[in-house]
Each structure stands twice: as C-alpha cells, then as structure tokens.
Amino acid sequence: MKFKIYRYNPDVDAEPYMQDYDLDIEAGDKMLLDAILLLKEQDDSLSLRKSCREGVCGSDAMNINGRNGLACITPLSSLSEPVTLRPLPGLPVIRDLIVDMTQFFKQYHSIKPYLINNDPPPETERLQSPEQREHLNGLYECILCGCCTTSCPSFWWNPDKFVGPAGLLQAYRFIADTRDHATSERLDDLEDPYRLFRCHTIMNCADVCPKELNPTNAIGSIKDLMVKRMV
C-alpha cells in the first residue's frame, strides 16, 4: 500500500513536506494504526501519538485522506491509495502527526467540565432516575480526541475565542445533568457572539466524530434552552 505522510521536525526541517512510503501489507481487517506502526519500524523518526489502539483514548486522531479520524479504528480496506496522512488541521504542529492541543484543552476547561453542586454531599451517590440518565447518552461518550473541533472552520478562525464543538458538547453534557446546579451560570457564560454563536451549523463536527456523537445537536439544544430562558 502507498502512503503519503506529512513530515515536519522543527529542529531539522525548514518547512513541512510530504514523504512517500510503500508498505507490503494485506489490508484484511487491519486498521490504519497497524500500518503506521509497521511504517515506524521502517523509519523510527516518524512520530505520532497513540495509546489504547481501540478508539477509547483519542490519542491517534489525525487527518486521514482529508478527513479527521482515529487511525486505530479506521479500517485499512476503507482507504483509497495513496493514503494521505496529515496532522489535525488548525493546531500548531509539534512534530509530524503530533499537534499541540493546548488551545483545544483551554477551551474545554473554560466550560467548567465538572459537576457544580453546592448541596452537601449525600451519604451515597447523587442519584438520577433512568430517564434523567438517558439525557446524558450521546454526550458523555466524548473522548476529547479533537477530530470535531479541528475540522470546524469557525474554530480555525477563532481558536482563542470560540469554544468549539467538543467543548460545547461537554458544556451541554453538564447542562443536561440533573445533578449539576449551575445551568444558569453555564448559559450566561456561553451567551456570547464568539464562545457559542460562532457556530454556523456547518456540521463538520457531526460528520467526522469517530464516536458518532453530534455536537451540532448539543449546540442547538443549548440555543433552545437560551431561547426558553429569554421568552
């Protein structure tokens, strides 16, 4: 199989370039990450992040044939050749396929991704009914791989001000949680022309999410709640 991989080592290279690789591999039921690791055996300077290799940790997010995804759960057989691999777009490249996710996590932290509840802690857990718990489905599964946020043109343009789809999905995850008591503060925080309203429903986020979540939908729900609060 033929591969074209983005290479950039800021200590050595003046600018990034695409390197061609040829790998003798039968696609079978192998995943893209398997192929990249074999390539890394050929050329150990090729750098990438990876950890769980089963779509849970979100480390090996990259741009695969022009589309963001996780290398570990992308079947080799689904890819057309040459398989073109680039780092996630819109973030500074540290080396090869590794990007600096500082801005991404800064936005994530800005939405206070934890339960805010000033009631005294109960003896056991804070309980929810099955119906209340149901609302968290499609929200809590996010692994923060960054595929959605880095495919969002609004984030490319205003990464310092727009929270981005991953952060907004998490914002709604806590708004939707009955154990959280800070809904009003959370809505206040997002009522902003940049933080939330830079979303123009482009829907790249929902298109690329490897966990098949829908941040656009969550953003719509936040807007619905804001409207409900206002009228």
Binding site: D189, E191, D192, P193, R195, F197, M230
Partner: protein, 115 residues
Amino acid sequence: MVNRVVVGAHYGLRDWLVQRVTAVVMALYCVTVAALLLLQSRPGYDAWTGLFSGQPMRTFTLLFLLSLFYHAWIGIRDIVMDYVKPAGVRLVIHVLVILVLLLYVIWSVQILWGM
C-alpha cells in the same frame, strides 16, 4: 491597555433568533411575490405599479426590506468580527455599516411611498 483575549460580551442569542425570524419573513415574501408574478395574466409596468400601489403590499415590502437589512447587519457584523482584528477599525466599520443600512431604510420608504 493590556493585550488580553476577551470574551463574555453576553449577547448573541437575540441576534441569532432575529436572523432566523427575518429569514422566515423574507422566505414568505419571496414566495408571495413569485406567486403574484406567476398569477399575473399580462405582466408589465402597469401590473407592477398596480401591485405596489396598495398599502398591504407596500407594508409587506417594507417589512421584507427591514428584515433584509437586519439580517444583513448580523451577517456583515459576523464577517467583520472574523476578518477585522483591531477593535477600533472594527467599531468604525460597524458604525458605517449601520449608517448605510439606516440610509437604505429611509430610501426604501421613499421608493415605496414616493410613487
């Protein structure tokens, strides 16, 4: 003034909502005008002036134009926010856009009721 990334203007919902409502008004107007044009047996200058001589049509047209200008204001403001970074320049452009749109409103009234 220190150079900090500042967010938290606490507005945006109303504009977002207004943009949707004005879009509905514009869609209704376009369908109405298209239907009236298609139903016209002898299209021409007389038919056009006849159509716009009644108060309901003039009022609906003004409503359409006001919707268009408000809608355009939000869209253009968003573009300026994306492309023009210095706050001072941005403010000047915002004011100019608002003034131009207000002029358009006056001009629209003149056209619609000046016939």
